[in-house]
Symmetry: C2
Subunit: 583 residues, 2 copies
C-alpha cells in the first residue's frame, strides 16, 4: 500500500489516525467540539465533546469511515498560523481557541495540519505524508472513556475514543492476543477466582484483605525474602506503624511528602501520623546506640506496612494500594564498604528474580548531572566512587542497563530494576538508593578506627518493592498457576465417592509438611477434578477402590496431565524435589 | 504481742496502720490536711496536703513514730456522727468536710474512729481492737508519690505515703525480696541491657521499636503460636490496619469504644481509623463469601497490630503499649460445634502455657446473671449449653477456676486465664469469648443442612493476648535468661585471642540453623566471657590452641557452668535435643 512512499514511523501513523478519527467524527457528528488527540503506547486517542450520545456501538462505523478516508490517499500538509488566523480558523472549536490563546501567550508557534480537504487540526505535526502509508487493517477503535478536559474535574467531561494502532495487522493481532491473555491473567480476576484477596467497600479502596490462600502466598514470598536476607547477615527489626510528627520534621518529610495520611491529633499531645515510609524509624533506631567502625555495615531489615494516600481513582487491585508492605532494608555503611554492600544486594536481587522465574530485566543507573554539581549534597569522592562502582558492578554482570545522567536524587545515586513479565510488560521492581541526606539530618555517627566520629552512608534497598504489588505481578506472570513451592494448595486429594473419604483423609495425613486439601464436597468425580483444575492446584490425587487396593494414589499434574499411579513415598519424594528446586 | 486478743485480719492491721500514719503525721506536721488512707494489695497509703516539704528522708522518723504509737497499746473505737457533728469535728480538715457533705447527701452513715486519744479519722471502720495486735516489725513506710485529690487533675496535688504491711516480719521480708528480684527482672531494664527493644521520644510513648534480638524473640513467640494453630486447622488471614469509619458504625464500636485513635479525615472521602480491634474486619471477610454448614467451623487467625490510645501516664514498657500485636482468632461455628471448638482452644492454651514454662494458672468463668435475663441477647439454649460446656470442660481438666455469675458480657459467656509467674505475680492472659452480637450486627449466615439460613456463633480467642505484653511477662519470668529455643543468641563463640578468630568463625559456620554470635571485639578473654554472661547467652564456646588441636570447643552453660570439651557433633546434638524439647 505504501509502496511508493518512504516507511512512516509508528508515531506518525498513530498521530495521523487520530486526525482521521476526528475527521470521521466531524463528518458524522458535525456539532462535535474537539479536544486533543495524542499518540499513546499502543495507539492513539482523541477527546470529543459530543452533542448527542455516542456509545461503543458507534465505534465500528467510525472505524469504517476512517478506513474509507485512508483509502482516499489524502495528503497531510502543514501551515503556519498567526494567533488571529488560528482563532478564525477554529472559531467553532472553543477548546482549540483556548489552546491557541495559551500557546500564543507562551510565544509558541501555531500550526495547522490539513488532511486533504476533509479535515484541519491545530497541531504541531508529525504525520504520514499521505494516508496511503497507513495500513487500514493495522488499527482498530478499541473503547470509549470519560476524561475531563485537560484532566481537571473543574472542566467539562469529554468522551475519549481510544484506538489501537500498529505497524502491521500481525502486530495488532499479537497485541490483542496479549491483551486478551492479560485479561485472563488479571490479578483482580484471579484474586477472586482463586480466593486470594478481596477489597471491601466498608473498609475502603486500596486496602485489600487476604483470604487464607492469599495470606499463605504473602507469607511464602515474604519468608523467602527474609531467609534470603538473613543468611547474608541482614538482621530484622520491628517498628511501629505510627509516629509523632516530630520524626518527620527531623527527616523533612512533613513539609515535602504529599502522600501522607492526615494527622491524628491527640488531646494534649502531639499529632500522630501513619508512616508512609520506614527510613526515619530506621535512622532513629540506629541512633539509640553508639556504633564502632567494627560493627559496620549494620543491615537492618523489616517487612512492614506503609500507608500512602493515593487518590481513589488511581487505585487498582494490588498494583496500587494504600497500605503497602515493603521488604525494606537500610544498610548503614562506611564509605569503603559501599561497593561490597551493593554487590551483595545485586546477588540477592539476582537470586530472587531467578527463583521467582523472571529472567528478563534491565537496570536504570541514575547518576548526578555534571553540569549542575551544586545541587547535590554529600562527599564528592563518595559520589564519584559509588557511581563508578554501580556502573562497574552492573557491567561486570553483563546486565542490560541505561545510564540516566542527571537522574540521581540530590542525596545519592540510585539503581532501579525493570522487570519484564511473561507477557512482555515492564514493571519497576527493586531499588538500591544511596543516601547522604538522612544520615546528616539525623546526625548519624560511628566511631572510626582513629577515634574520630564519622557519618555513615545509608543504602536503602527493596527487592520486591511491596508484597502487594509483587503478588499482582506474580499472579499475572504465572496466570495463577503457581510453581509448587508457591502454590497455596499444593495437593488436592479427591475421593472417587463418599466411601473413599476416609482413605483420602489418611493420604492427606501421610503428606505432612505439604499443603493438602481434601475434596469432601458431595459432587461428582468430574466436577471435583474440574474444581481442583479451576483452582490451578498443581497436583490432584484421585483415590478410589483401585488406589486403596494398591495403597497408592492416581496423580494428575495441572500442566503435565495424568502421571499415573504412584506410591505415597514416590509422590512425597517427587514433591520434595520439586519444592527444593523451586521449579 | 497480740496474745490476749483475737487474731486481727491483715486488712484490719493495714487499715489501722494508715490511721497510725496519719496520727504520726499530724503530731509532726500539725497543719497537714488529710486526704484518705485506704488498704491496698501490699499494705496501705495515706494522702496528705503538707504545708512544708516532706521527702523520703522523713519516712524513717514517721515510721519510728508509728511504732511508738503502736507500742502504746491504743484502742480503736468507733462513733456514729450526724452531718453537723462530723463537720464540727473535722472543721480544720477541708477534704474531710467535702466527703462529709457528699456522704450525707447520698444518705450514707457517718462514723469516726478514734485511736486512743491521739487521733480521730472519718472512717467506715475495719480496724484492730487495740494496737497491741500490730507487729511493729511487720510494716514499713516504703515511698512517696504525688496524687491528685480524688484522682482528678483539677484538684490539688497531695503527697501519698505508701506503707508495706504484712502479717509478720517474715512475710514482709519475703515480699521485699520478691520486689527486689522483680526489679532485677524488670523487662524495661532487661529490654535495654539485653538489647531487645527501646522507646524513642520523637516516635512516641507506648510505641516500642525492637532491636534485632527483640525482633527474633517476637518472631519465635509469634511463629510458635502460628504453628500451634495451623496444625489444628486454623487458617491465617491478613487484614489492613486502617478502615473507613463505616465499619465501626456497623459493629457499634464507633459510638462506644473510647480508646480509638482520632479519625484521619481525607479530602472528599470518608474518615479513616486505625483499627483498635480485629473483629469487624474478620466479620466482613467471612461475609464476602457464601458459607455452607459443611465448611464450619471456619477458624480465621491473624497476628496483627491494633492501636489503642491509652493515656500516656498509663503506659509502661511493653506491658501497656499503644500498638499491640494480638494473636487473634475468630471461629465461626455452628451451635453444635461450640463445645468441641472450645475444647480445642483449651488444648492449645494448655500446650502454650506448658511450652513457655507457666504451670500455675486459674480460670475465671463469666456466666450470665439469672436474676437479670433480659439484659442478654442471643438464643437461650445456646447460652445454657455453652455455659454448661465451659464449666464442664474446665472441671474435667481439673483446672483451678472461679465462676463469676453475672460477669458475662451481654453477648456471650467468657473464659479468662490468669497466670502466675515465677515471682507469684498474676497476669491475665488468654481469653475465650462467645459472641452472639457481632454475627447479628453483621448479618453473618451459613446455609444449614436443611437449606435454611442460620446465624453462626463467633468465638473470639487470644492465647498470648498481645505479643508485646507477653514478651514483658516472658522476660520477667525468665529474668532474661531464656530457654535455648527462645534465646535470641543461642551460642557465643569466644576466641581466646586474635589468632583464634578464624577458628571461631569456622565453628560458627559449622553450626548452621543455630543463632550464633562471635565475640570478635578486641577485649580480654575474661571480659568477653563476662559479656556473654551479661547477655545471658545459654551456651558459650571458648576456643583457643587446645580446642583447635582437639578440633573441639570448650563449653560453658549460662546456668550449669563449665561443661567441658565437646566435639561439634556432640554439641550440635545436645543443642538440637534441647531445642526440640523446648526445655
Amino acid at each position: 500500500m505504501s509502496d511508493k512512499l518512504p516507511q512512516a514511523s509508528l508515531d506518525e501513523i498513530r498521530h495521523s489516525l487520530a486526525h482521521l478519527l476526528a475527521a470521521a467524527v466531524l463528518q458524522k457528528y458535525p456539532d462535535t467540539k474537539l479536544g486533543i488527540g495524542p499518540v499513546i503506547d499502543n495507539g492513539f486517542y482523541y477527546d470529543f465533546l459530543f452533542s448527542q450520545p455516542v456509545t461503543e456501538d458507534d465505534l465500528k462505523d467510525l472505524q469504517k469511515d476512517m478506513r474509507k478516508l485512508a483509502h482516499r490517499h489524502l495528503d497531510f500538509t502543514g501551515e503556519k498560523l498567526t494567533a488571529e488566523g488560528a482563532k478564525k480558523m477554529f472559531k467553532d472549536q472553543p477548546f482549540k481557541v483556548e489552546l491557541i490563546e495559551e500557546f500564543s501567550k507562551d510565544g509558541k508557534e501555531l500550526t495547522a495540519y490539513h488532511t486533504g480537504d476533509v479535515f484541519t487540526d491545530l497541531c504541531r505535526g508529525g504525520h504520514v505524508t499521505n494516508t496511503k502509508q497507513i495500513d487500514p487493517e493495522s488499527f482498530k477503535l478499541s473503547r470509549l472513556a470519560g476524561a475531563y478536559w485537560r484532566g481537571s474535574e473543574k472542566n467539562p467531561m469529554l468522551t475519549r475514543i481510544y484506538g489501537l494502532a500498529f505497524a502491521s495487522k500481525k502486530e495488532l493481532e499479537a497485541y490483542e492476543k496479549m491483551m486478551e491473555e492479560a485479561k485472563k491473567r488479571d490479578h483482580r480476576k484471579l484474586g477472586k477466582d482463586l480466593g486470594l484477596f478481596t477489597i471491601i467497600d466498608e473498609i475502603g479502596p486500596g486496602l485489600p484483605l487476604f483470604y487464607p490462600k492469599g495470606t499463605i502466598l504473602r507469607r511464602l514470598v515474604e519468608n523467602y525474602i527474609t531467609d534470603l536476607q538473613e543468611k547474608r547477615g541482614y538482621v530484622p527489626i520491628w517498628i511501629p506503624h505510627i509516629t509523632k510528627g516530630k520524626l518527620y520534621e527531623i527527616s523533612g518529610h512533613l513539609q515535602k511528602y504529599d502522600a501522607m495520611y492526615p494527622p491524628m491529633q491527640l488531646p494534649d499531645e502531639d499529632a500522630y501520623y501513619l508512616k508512609p515510609m520506614n527510613c526515619p524509624h530506621f535512622m532513629m533506631l540506629y541512633n539509640t546506640l553508639p556504633h564502632s567502625y567494627r560493627e559496620l555495615p549494620i543491615r537492618y531489615t523489616s517487612t512492614t506496612t506503609n500507608y500512602r494516600y493515593e487518590k481513589s481513582g488511581e487505585l487498582t487491585g494490588l498494583t496500587r494500594v494504600r497500605a503497602l508492605t515493603q521488604d525494606d532494608c537500610h544498610v548503614f555503611t562506611r564509605p569503603d564498604q559501599i561497593e561490597a554492600e551493593i554487590n551483595l544486594m545485586l546477588d540477592m536481587i539476582n537470586e530472587a528474580y531467578t527463583t521467582f522465574g523472571f529472567s528478563d530485566f534491565w537496570v536504570r543507573i541514575s547518576t548526578h548531572d555534571p553540569e549542575n554539581k551544586e545541587k547535590y549534597i554529600g562527599d564528592k569522592t563518595i559520589w564519584a566512587e559509588s557511581e563508578a562502582a554501580l556502573e562497574k558492578l552492573i557491567k561486570n554482570r553483563g546486565w542490560k542497563h541505561e545510564i540516566g545522567v542527571g537522574e540521581a536524587a540530590f542525596y545519592g545515586p540510585k539503581l532501579d530494576f525493570i522487570l519484564k513479565d511473561v507477557l512482555g510488560r515492564e514493571w519497576q521492581l527493586s531499588t538500591i538508593q544511596l543516601d547522604m541526606n538522612l544520615p546528616k539530618r539525623f546526625n548519624l555517627e560511628y566511631t572510626d578506627a582513629d577515634g574520630t566520629k564519622k557519618q555513615p552512608v545509608v543504602i536503602h534497598r527493596a527487592i520486591l518493592g511491596s508484597t502487594e504489588r509483587f503478588l499482582a505481578i506474580l499472579i499475572e506472570h504465572f496466570g495463577g498457576a503457581f510453581p509448587l513451592w508457591l502454590a497455596p494448595v499444593q495437593v488436592a486429594v479427591i475421593p472417587v465417592s463418599e466411601k473413599h473419604i476416609d482413605y483420602a483423609r489418611e493420604i492427606a495425613k501421610k503428606l505432612p509438611g505439604f499443603r493438602v486439601q481434601i475434596a469432601e464436597e458431595n459432587e461428582t468425580l468430574g466436577k471435583k477434578i474440574r474444581g481442583a483444575e479451576m483452582q490451578k492446584i498443581p497436583y490432584v490425587l484421585v483415590v478410589g477402590d483401585k488406589e486403596i487396593e494398591q495403597n497408592a494414589v492416581n496423580v494428575r499434574h495441572y500442566k503435565e496431565g495424568v502421571l499415573g499411579t504412584l506410591s505415597l513415598d514416590q509422590l512425597s519424594a517427587k514433591l520434595r524435589e520439586e519444592i527444593e528446586k523451586k521449579g
